[in-house]
Amino acid sequence: MIEVKNAVKTFEGFRALDGADITVPDGGVYGLVGPNGAGKSTVIRHITGIYRPDSGEVLVEGEPVYENPAQKALLAAIPDDWYYFQSATVADMMRFYRGFYPAFDTARYERFKEVFAIPEKAVIRRLSKGMQKQVAFWLTMCCRPRYLILDEPVDGLDPVMRRQVWSIMMSDVAEHGTTVLVSSHNLRELEDVCDHVGIMNKGKVLIERSLNDLQENIVKLQAVWKPGEAPVLPKELEVLHISHVGRVYTYIVRGKAAEVTARLEPCGPLMLEALPLSLEEIFIYELGGEHYAVKEIIL
């Protein structure tokens, strides 16, 4: 398990982490989402042992990860901008990783040659951005990490390769119990793979739940009211957002679908329907309360 407890990190007066708390349970895929500048990359750099928190704790399997080679050996990370040595080939970088990660799986490296189809002798610098990302996945997956930390992992990969990479990672999760922590803005993609989601904003984790809990706890209602009637909603409903087109009103309400529908029924709508929210919608409406409402742009 990865735990970040009340982590604070300040960069020249800017509080990048402001008491962040994250718990990544073992054996699943944890999606870390949040707007730009929320602190996702900063928290990932703490988890990979690059940064030392000003205060708070960052633990991997109950042990601090900073300056702890034993815990770091359990992790492998792919940052958003993966570094390789200027003149290094794939084979050079493989040897480099192999020299550091005790669990490096050379047989797997050989098997992945076919999957990624990148010449081993290719100088990484000369590869396209997408191919460089493939190399990063190739080598990182061969480290056989117990915890795989990914920051914007599939940016630059084509759809086929994305699916391929996710497939490899999911099979590792299923077969070896690998835990994946992934930060991404591609919420549709995360929705397909994540078990747990943490939403960050302004250096704090606002919500951290399993995706099911999250989706069950917020509901989109579409209601049609009688003409000329102003819809008055029960005060106990926590409405996050209201919009309407003609007589069709859409409500985003916090709560379980059945309970919320039951409370609205007495108001006498002509039609009432509860719809599940996508992760993207949850992200937008949850952050709306944090002054992150989607602004209409008029050109």
Binding site: T48, I50, Y51, P69, W82, Y83, F100, R146
Partner: protein
């Protein structure tokens, strides 16, 4: 394989072979090129041997070659090469991407530090090893190899390598910017003597007599200076015909080596605390920011402030001394410039002016205060005259008076010079305004018993109307310059010295015709001639330096070069040279030249005629 077994680290590791190998293979062009360039030296030696016959080379010459390289080339090469190696092995600290990779790896910083340091040292030592091995191989083949010399040379190389790489590593930990690293290294290497020179130069603009020549008190803080000052070759005669050659200064090298190790230790402690996010920043630690700002402001004030004054304010000063108010303004302006430049580097932005008024005022005030403090002579530098009991020796020099030394054995002369110094200081304001002209430029240099030196320089012309007052500095200068003891001191070889040779040249015919070339083998001629010169000096036949313009006698176009050597306290010899003109009044010397049949009467007559033609009948007195 079981997961736990494959990932658990069984013990703490201080070295990572993969990283070490990667560093050497990544950066091979540097050590490869340096090795190739260095190999040109043994190649040149080999070609020389093949062309000129290697049989003539002795093992003493081989030893001399090794030690010369160790004493002359290795300090400079190591100093320059260390920063290149440090820039490469620590390059990962200067980019956020690379530092992210390296600090994610399952090794701690101790392991990264030790491995990087060993990589850097290996990169430094490989070229030396290549060049040394080739040289020794040639020496072995041609039969002039000296094992002891090779060992001492290797030791010297290793000591200097650790010294300079330690310093470079320490600098590498202080900054997060790869371009700032060589600048910082250069500054740290020369900071102490540079600051001393700047402060001394500035002080000499205000303080009467302060010569502006740096004493080198802080040179030991610049390893390159310290090493060059202390490491040298020493030749000691042995029972056989040949001399033995030694490399001296290992004590100093060991001290710098220990300092290098200490800097590596400090570098390690800094690396442990260094935040990864400082990659790209000029200062790796927040606490260094004020140091960087104030340091740059001070350097800017001392260098650019002085330059600004020289360019625009020199016309407003009286005498040859600077106007403190104008200098303070210049230093405040340029100090502020340095402060803002430092802020721009630190903030990586040009927008550093907003809200900085208070800091700007403080910087200006501090720089101006520094200028006034120096000009006010808070430490009493102007008035400092060493106590007689503290003086080991004093030398006096002027435009027409080459440096003449008096040791404590010549107490009366030392006292006279100290009295003259005090008399000059009693008339400070007059001398400062150059109210008395500047025909003389009197340089007094005291060597004190504590090993330090004190130099003062005064410009003046002797005042004829003050000659009657024996207490006046004019009368004292005139008396001193006209005292034959001054000339005797110039030509006297000290007790621990031995005359080695005298050369006599006649320039009357337009070129330096050699009248006498006397080395030790012909010491009888040299000794006789030297005794004659000394006798002339004692009898006052050699004129002293002129007191007034146009004073003194006219010399022949004949010059003697006297060479002697003294035995040094720490062993070995020091060679000295004196040059003396021949005057018509030097009857004993001229007589000896005739007796030794080095010249004829006719030639002396020719010299007289030349003197008369050039200066008139009075020239012969």
């Amino acid at each position: 394989m079981n997961w736990e077994v494959s990932t658990m680290q069984s013990k703490r590791s201080f070295f990572n072979r993969t990283l070490f190998r990667k560093n050497l293979t990544r950066f091979w062009p540097l050590w490869g090129i340096v090795s190739a360039v260095g190999s040109l030296m043994p190649l040149y030696v080999l070609l020389e041997l093949l062309n000129g016959g290697g049989a003539r080379v002795t093992s003493l010459e081989f030893t001399q070659l090794l030690y010369t390289v160790a004493a002359m080339a290795v300090p400079a090469v190591s100093c320059a090469y260390a920063i290149l190696c440090a820039m490469l092995v620590w390059s990962y600290l200067y980019s956020p991407r690379s530092v992210e990779l390296m600090h994610t790896l399952p090794v701690d910083r101790t392991c990264l530090f030790v491995t990087s340091v060993l990589s850097g040292l290996a990169m430094m030592l490989i070229p030396y090893a290549v060049v040394g091995a080739l040289t020794c191989l040639i020496a072995l083949v041609f039969g002039f190899f000296d094992f002891t010399a090779a060992c001492f040379t290797v030791l010297a190389v290793v000591l200097m390598t650790v010294t300079f790489f330690g310093l470079a590593t320490f600098c590498a930990m202080l900054t997060g910017n790869v371009f700032a690293l060589p600048v910082l290294y250069l500054l740290v290497n020369f900071l102490a003597p540079l600051l001393e020179a700047l402060v001394v130069t500035l002080s000499s603009q205000f303080l009467l007599g302060f010569s502006g020549s740096s004493q080198g008190i802080f040179d030991f803080l610049a390893p390159i200076f310290g090493i060059y000052e202390n490491i040298s070759l020493e030749y000691v005669p042995t029972r056989g015909a040949a001399e033995a050659c030694y490399l001296v200064g290992f004590g100093t090298l060991f001290l710098y080596f220990l300092a290098g190790l200490a800097l590596l230790g400090l570098g390690y402690l800094l690396y442990r605390r260094r935040p990864s996010e400082s990659a790209g920043d000029v200062a790796a630690f927040r606490g260094l920011r004020p140091v960087f700002r104030w340091g740059l402001a001070l350097l800017s004030a001392l260098t650019l402030g002085y330059l600004l004054y020289e360019l625009f304010c020199t016309p407003f000063q009286w005498g040859c001394y600077a106007n403190p108010a104008f200098m303070a303004v210049c230093m405040a302006i340029t100090g502020l410039l340095g402060w803002y430049a430092a802020s721009m580097f630190l903030e990586k932005s040009l927008r550093v002016f907003k809200g900085s008024l208070k800091s700007a005022v403080v910087v200006c005030a501090v720089m101006a205060a520094l200028c006034f403090a120096i000009s006010a002579d808070l430490f009493g530098i102007e008035d400092r005259v060493p106590a007689l009991e503290d003086i080991h020796a004093v030398s006096i020099a002027d435009m027409d008076l080459r440096a003449t030394y008096f040791t404590e054995d010549d107490r009366e002369m030392v006292e006279r010079i100290v009295r003259l110094h005090r008399a000059l200081l009693s008339d400070k304001e007059g001398l400062r305004r150059e109210a008395y002209g500047d025909y003389h430029c009197l340089l007094l240099t005291y060597t004190l018993k504590n090993g330090t030196a004190l130099s003062r320089v005064y410009r003046f012309s002797v005042q004829e109307d003050r000659l009657d007052d024996p207490a006046s500095w004019s009368a004292q200068v005139a008396a001193l310059y006209r005292d034959p003891a001054l000339v005797v001191s110039q030509v006297t070889i000290p007790d621990n010295g031995t005359l080695t040779s005298i050369f006599a040249y006649d320039f009357a015919n337009g070129y330096g015709e050699e009248l006498l070339e006397s080395s030790e083998a012909q010491s009888s001629s040299a000794k006789v001639l030297y005794d004659a010169i000394l006798q002339d000096a004692r009898e006052g036949n050699i004129p002293g330096p002129p007191v007034f313009p146009g004073d003194g006698e006219y010399p022949y176009d004949v010059r003697f070069e006297i060479e002697y050597r003294t035995v040094e306290e720490r062993g070995g010899y020091q060679h000295h040279y004196d040059a003396i003109q021949l005057y018509p009044s030097m009857e004993h010397t001229i007589g000896t030249l005739l007796d030794l049949e080095l010249v004829t009467e006719a030639r002396v007559e020719l010299w007289n005629q030349a003197l008369v033609e050039q200066y008139g009948e009075d020239a012969l007195g």
